[in-house]
Symmetry: C2
């Protein structure tokens, strides 16, 4: 009888543990999400941002919440990552939301806009200036939401066969440059050309293409062919990408169904990827730009009249789009208002410090 009682006790203990298991499973369920990256692994720092995110998330959840990152083209083409999330083909996407600008031009404010803000200001707008909420309002129609997850910092404007001396030099210029910036240069006389990446080098050499835009020194150097040989004029600033903000876009219902700790873990992992990617680009670009110059690139600043003409065209375009599209108007008002205040302050502490440090470097060399 004693043995029997102990036996039941044993069963009881086992049963109690059995009952506890579902509760444990609820707080730490095994979740695996398929994430469509909009990038190729060859862009190792941008694509790598998704991997940093996945690794951090697995660390934070003891391996219970995993992301499987798929390169662009595997689940969806680069430009259709948002569609993949909306249709359920993917649970999330690591992407530049501006790629969805043909759905609604308002999406550009999530990533980068011509004459927008630099990376740090953009981060402040998303987190503290109401930008993140406005982007999520926009994504609600697509049953999605977005978390900032990486920034490249300011990029270059790209590679030009010939020098650009004034606005007239844009006339008839055959450019491989999409989106908003392509539209702006087009309205100033340039001719956007669609062309697969692999054809670019030969097209630049033969003269069937005059200008090609990629990213910044670190990625441009690894383009595969030495672009400087075909188009040595490497222009800056990349006025349509003062920074390039990436997001993790996720299906809203799937996010809402996550346990509280998983939501926190996903957000924190995105924050880690966000800071990490920018630091990696900042650390890698200086050496890359030096090597590119040794390899024949000429760093050139756009003439002031070209910058001003592009600025005016961009401002007109913002106004025009805002008149037709209430989403766009709301985002533009918030974004451009925040930008004005940011640069009012930036010129004081940040810019004046950078200015002196840059002048001092020149004085020494």
């Amino acid at each position: 009888m004693n043995a029997r009682r102990n036996f039941l006790k044993g069963i009881g203990a086992a049963a109690a543990v059995g009952a506890a298991a579902p509760a444990l499973a609820e707080t730490s369920p095994d979740v695996e999400w398929r994430i469509a990256s909009s990038f190729s692994p060859a862009l190792d720092l941008i694509y790598g941002g998704g991997e940093t995110l996945a690794r951090t998330l697995a660390d934070l959840t003891d391996g219970h919440f995993k992301l499987k990152i798929s390169p662009a083209g595997e689940i969806a083409p680069a430009g259709e990552a948002l569609d993949a999330v909306e249709s359920g083909k993917a649970d999330g996407a690591h992407t530049a939301l501006a790629y969805a600008w043909n759905k609604d031009p308002s999406f550009i404010f999530a990533t980068a806009t011509p004459f927008g803000m630099n990376a740090r200001q953009h981060t402040a707008w998303l987190a503290e200036g109401g930008g993140g909420g406005l982007i999520d309002d926009l994504l609600a129609e697509h049953k999605s939401m977005a978390i900032p997850a990486g920034n490249t910092g300011g990029q270059m404007a790209g590679w030009f066969r010939k020098e650009i001396r004034n606005v007239q030099d844009l006339q008839g210029l055959k450019i491989r440059l999409g989106g908003f910036a392509g539209k702006i240069l087009q309205s100033l006389g340039a001719e956007p050309v669609a062309m697969p990446k692999d054809g670019v080098f030969n097209a630049l050499q033969s003269g069937s293409l005059d200008m090609f835009e990629w990213l910044g020194p670190y990625d441009d150097e690894k383009f595969g062919q030495p672009i400087a040989k075909a188009a040595p004029n490497y222009y800056y600033p990349g006025w349509w990408k003062g920074g390039m903000q990436l997001h993790l876009v996720v299906a809203k219902d799937k996010y809402e169904a996550l346990p509280h700790t998983y939501k926190s873990a996903l957000r924190a992992a995105c924050a880690v990827a966000d800071r990490d990617m920018l630091a990696k680009y900042d650390a890698a670009n200086p050496a890359a730009v030096k090597r590119l110059v040794v390899g024949g690139a000429s760093l050139r600043l756009f003439p002031q009249d070209v910058m001003e003409a592009c600025y005016k065209t961009a401002s007109d375009l913002y106004e025009q789009l805002g008149a037709d599209n209430p989403h766009f108007k709301k985002l533009a008002d918030s974004y451009l208002g925040f930008r004005a205040d940011q640069y009012l302050w930036w010129q004081v502490a940040e810019y004046s410090f950078d200015n002196f440090m840059i002048r001092q470097r020149h004085a020494k060399t």
Copy 2:
């Protein structure tokens, strides 16, 4: 016998479960750390960085790993946070490591140095340029290690009763400014004055103090008294704090004893606090600087000869300290080398973009 066998099986199951329990306890033990903040809650964004960190960490660990943040003075005075961690009075500190510069001047490289780097460049140095490892080498003697956890961005140089027209105007200037920057201005003729914060306003009014340094617009506005009434010349750039990097300093043995997920959670929570604090300062400073100007502050740029004299003095001081102190030499070589490369690249994409945006804002107004 059958019952007996089942009984043993039952015991076996219970024992197996019993053995599993400590493993569970090991992966999610309840941990609470006392953190000495070097700041007063009145500096709500800096002090708040510690609170953001604590809240995020609790969210990530389902409340199992908690930080109890204590204001400066409770566990240790602001400047002795590192000692508190070393002696075990605190498990960690949310602090500016530069406060320990009288222990070893090398600590300035963790936080901000005269004519150092801006916040983003400093982050890149810590994460990707070897800076974080060098800071941890320095902290090993204090049985500690550090994780970046907040940055204020570039600050102002402070409030001056009179205009500074040239280097001669620094002669005999009574300044309330400590650390490295105080030493530099002292060697150019200024006289550092020690004075409790509460006496500053009256001292400025009476003329027993000529200059007072605090942080940036957002914090300076909440100083308690309208500083602009007593010392209206608000100078920039704050050349000794192109950014102000905060760290969570923790006892190394306690960190090493944490389960892997807790280590990841602590690092991720610090990354969240790091990005969050900078975004909050960036969002809050523009409106604050406008209100300060309305309240009588005159924004003034240091004359070029003052900046150059300070730069030269700082460079000489770096060299001098490096000759005596191998720690300092190692850190200075790494830091200043990284800075040179950063500004080489910064002037291309980032600075030229900011430059155009600032000029354009002026053209419009």
